[in-house]
Symmetry: none
Subunit: 261 residues, 2 copies
């Protein structure tokens, strides 16, 4: 049993699948217990039971959530509760953020179907996947989206594109389930050691730190936006662990030398 994902390695024939057999749904600052419960029920309908909650507004456990889960209480009982999004997303290597609004950020925008087909392929190669959902009030903040490698956009009509939180989770879960049928047999792919969110966020932060000394952030007002840009730059791509190491080396060499002189 894995202490992070509560999953177990599964042997199918001679093949051993890793611990990441399903995506984890991460809810950032959800407000209504009813929605959390309904989301859990919808997840369970499609065989998903790994949920994480970041700062649920009304505290936790929330009786309204359990009432709405109606038979899927186990999903809630096993949910991981976190204070901050970074920790909640920490060990994931690929994060999809759901959003209805058009963004300035340059990220790949995918349909729920395309994202879940891809997620299933990635998981077969041992990549850990999370899907991120914003709060009812405002959806995902740009800062939260900066953790994501890609954005999932539900093809609702443009005039009324805001989905209820639980319904959004349901659709992604539904497409996850459907992707099982179309998913093709895993092709032999060399061991992937993709860096996870924490490793990439730390990289972005180290760069920000080094750049702060150089006047890269010309004004305080500017700094916030530029820091998000840096995050996006480093988190959007599927850097391997060794690439992250190289990027740290580059920074260290470029700036350590500065201190030496």
């Amino acid at each position: 049993m894995c202490r992070i994902c509560r999953g177990t390695a599964i042997s199918v024939g001679k093949k051993v699948y890793g611990r990441w057999m399903q995506p984890t749904f991460v809810f950032d600052s959800p407000q209504l217990g009813e929605n959390i419960g309904a989301a859990a029920r919808g997840m369970r309908n499609f065989g998903l039971d790994r949920m994480r909650l970041v700062s649920p507004r009304d505290g936790w456990p929330n009786p309204k959530a359990f009432a709405a889960a109606s038979g899927a209480g186990m999903v809630l009982a096993n949910a991981g509760i976190f204070d901050d999004l970074e920790t909640a997303l920490g060990e994931f290597q690929r994060v999809y953020a759901t959003t209805a609004r058009r963004r300035e950020l340059t990220k790949q925008v995918m349909t729920p179907k395309a994202a879940m087909v891809e997620a299933r392929e990635l998981m077969k190669r041992g990549v850990s996947v999370a899907v991120l959902f914003g709060s009812e009030r405002a959806g995902l903040e740009n800062k939260s989206i900066s953790f994501a490698s890609a954005v999932i956009s539900v093809p609702a009509i443009p005039e009324f594109s805001s989905l209820n939180l639980a319904q959004c989770a349901l659709l992604v879960g539904y497409e996850w389930r459907l992707s099982e049928e179309i998913a093709v047999e895993p092709v032999a792919i060399s061991e992937v050691d993709e860096a996870n969110v924490l490793e990439k966020a730390a990289l972005a932060d180290k760069y920000a730190e080094a750049l702060k000394e150089t006047g890269f952030f010309d004004t305080a007002q500017n700094e916030e936006g530029k820091r998000i840009n840096l995050r996006n730059l480093f988190l959007r791509h599927d850097f391997t662990v060794s690439e992250v190491k190289t990027l740290h080396g580059i920074r260290r060499f470029l700036s350590v030398r500065r201190h030496r002189t």
Copy 2:
């Protein structure tokens, strides 16, 4: 304006579409106003606004339904209210009944997708279509299902196959929307201007140049391999032009400052 469906004939160019441009969702004895409202919102998300309610348990209008509809109140305000299912389904030519349970009845069982693709084809030929949803408590009675030409079964996991009423409506609405070719075709990709090989190679070279001064390439023998690594690092990923610009900025800030001190 048709007095039955409240729809109007629509001209698109020289083509006149009939009144049956979308399926009507008929809810048989729904219990909770919250679910009726959430269903309306989900319908509206996918461009559906023709709803009929048969004997809603808590009477009508139901304020809880309007609260949950959150912007889709028009769907509720225009809903047809009926005392019996037979009248509500009266003029429809093709009725799909949604159910999770296995039935003794001999009817075609379809996925939501297959049903909605078929429904769209039928409607183009002027056939009127309804989708029937049972109550929260018991789903559809066999008697109600007997009105249907086919059954829609959502591919939930067998151990937990009962969907929330509103979520079931949402999924059918989603597949209706996807069945529209224009909705699926463009996998929306936000304006991306990916950098080309030359731009990325130049980036790698500039970094190599800056790093050379720092002792990053400890030996000449080493240099060749490390330069290739840098190329791989910068060329393997789909950086955008603006990301390349940022990466140049990072390098310049980290190293120009060095020369300044």
